[in-house]
C-alpha cells in the first residue's frame, strides 16, 4: 500500500495529536514535531511515529506532528489513520488489525 495524497488524522485537543503525512519520491522521512511536552517526551513521540511508519512500510514522506500530550496508543492510532487516508482506502474496508496495525 502506498501513500498517494496528503493524509491527516487527529485533532488539536488536549491528549490528542494531529498527524499529517505528505508523499515524497525520495529522501526518507522528514519529520517536524511540535509538542506541548516537547522537552520531556519529544524523543519518545518521534520514535513512536517512526516505528509506526516503519510497520506501515512508509519510506519517504513529509510528516508533521502537532502533539498536545497524546499517549502512545493515540499516536499510533493517528499515524495509521493518516496513512490509510493518504492511501485513499475504503474507510470500511478490512484492516490488518494485529498485523501492521499493532
Amino acid at each position: 500500500m502506498e501513500l498517494k495524497a496528503v493524509g491527516t488524522a487527529g485533532t488539536l485537543e488536549s491528549s490528542d495529536v494531529m498527524i499529517t503525512l505528505e508523499p515524497k519520491d525520495s529522501g526518507g522521512i522528514d519529520l517536524s514535531l511540535e509538542s506541548s511536552v516537547l522537552n520531556q517526551y519529544g524523543r519518545q513521540i518521534k520514535a513512536e511515529v517512526l516505528a509506526s511508519l516503519e510497520r506501515l512500510g512508509v519510506k519517504n514522506a513529509k510528516v508533521i506532528v502537532n502533539d498536545h500530550g497524546a499517549l502512545d496508543c493515540t499516536i499510533k492510532a493517528r499515524v495509521e489513520c493518516a496513512f490509510y487516508r493518504g492511501c485513499g482506502v475504503d474507510m470500511d474496508g478490512r484492516f490488518d488489525w494485529g498485523g501492521v496495525i499493532r
Binding site: G93, F95, W97
Partner: protein, 305 residues
Amino acid sequence: MSIPRPKPEKFRLRRTMMFMNAQKPGLIKDAYIYGADSIMLDLEDAVAENQKDSARFSLYHALKEIDYGDTEVIVRINGLDTPHWKEDIRVCVAGGCDGIRIAKTESAADVKTVDEAVTEAEKEFGVEVGRTLLMAALESPKGVLNAFEICQASPRLFGVALSGGDYRKCMQVKVIPGGIEMLFARGFMLNAARAAGIQCFDTVFTNLNDDEGFRAEVKQNVEMGFDGKSLINPKQIPIVHEMLAPTQKEIAEAEKIVRAFREQADKGVGVFTLDNGKMIDIAFVPGAERVIRLAKASGIYEGDL
C-alpha cells in the same frame, strides 16, 4: 505491549454502564477511574460520519494498551443499516473487548447476524469462540415488541437495554417526569428479559442539571427491577451505586436466609421458617445472594459470606 483481559463474565454486576466517545483520547484514557461497572466505548452516534475510521484505530490501541482493571469494556457498534458495522466487529474482536452493544436491534435475526460475524472474527483473530459477549439495544417500537425473541437469540447475549431517545421519537412523545411515556417499553422489555433469564438496563437520563429528576428515575428503575442503567456522565455513577445499595436491614435479612438455607439444606430440609415467621424456600436464595453481592460491590458489606 498488550494488556491481557480475563474471560468476560456473562452475568456480572452491571449497575452503571457509561458511554464514552471512542474517538476522544482524553476520555478513553481514564475511563476506568470513574468506577462505573462497565464502560461503553461508542463508535456510533458520538462519532461523526467522517471519523468512523479514526475511531476504530483509536479503539484498537486503547483496548490493547490501556489497563481497564475490573471495569467491563463494551463497544457500541454502528447499526446494521450502515456500511460500518462489519469492520466495527472485526476491530472489537481483534482488540479483545468484553462485549458488543448492538444498536437499533429490531429482531432475533439482527442478533444472529452480529453473532455470526463475531464468530467469524473470533476465528480470524484466534480468539476463543464464544468469548465476546453481546447486548442488544432496543430503540424502536418494533424492537420493543420483539423483545422476547431478541432476548433468546444468542447464548452470547447477557442483556437488553432501552434507548429512549429514538424510541420516544418513534412514539411521538417527549420526556415526561414519572415516565408514563416509557412505562410500556420498560415493563415489556423487563418481562421479556426475565423470561429469557438475561439482564435488563434502562435508558440514559440526559438532563445533567436535574439531579432530583435523575434520582426519581433511578428510584423507579430500582422499583421496576432493572439491573442497571446507561449513563452519559461520571457524576451519575455514585448516585446509581448509592441508590442500588441494599439497606443494612436488607443485608441482615439476606445473610440470615443464605446461612439458614445452607444449614437446613445440609439437614435435608427444603422449606423452613425464619425467627420472624417468614417462610423460606430455595426460591429466596438467588435474591438474597444478589443482595450480598450488591452490598459487597457497594463497599458496605462487613460479613463473611
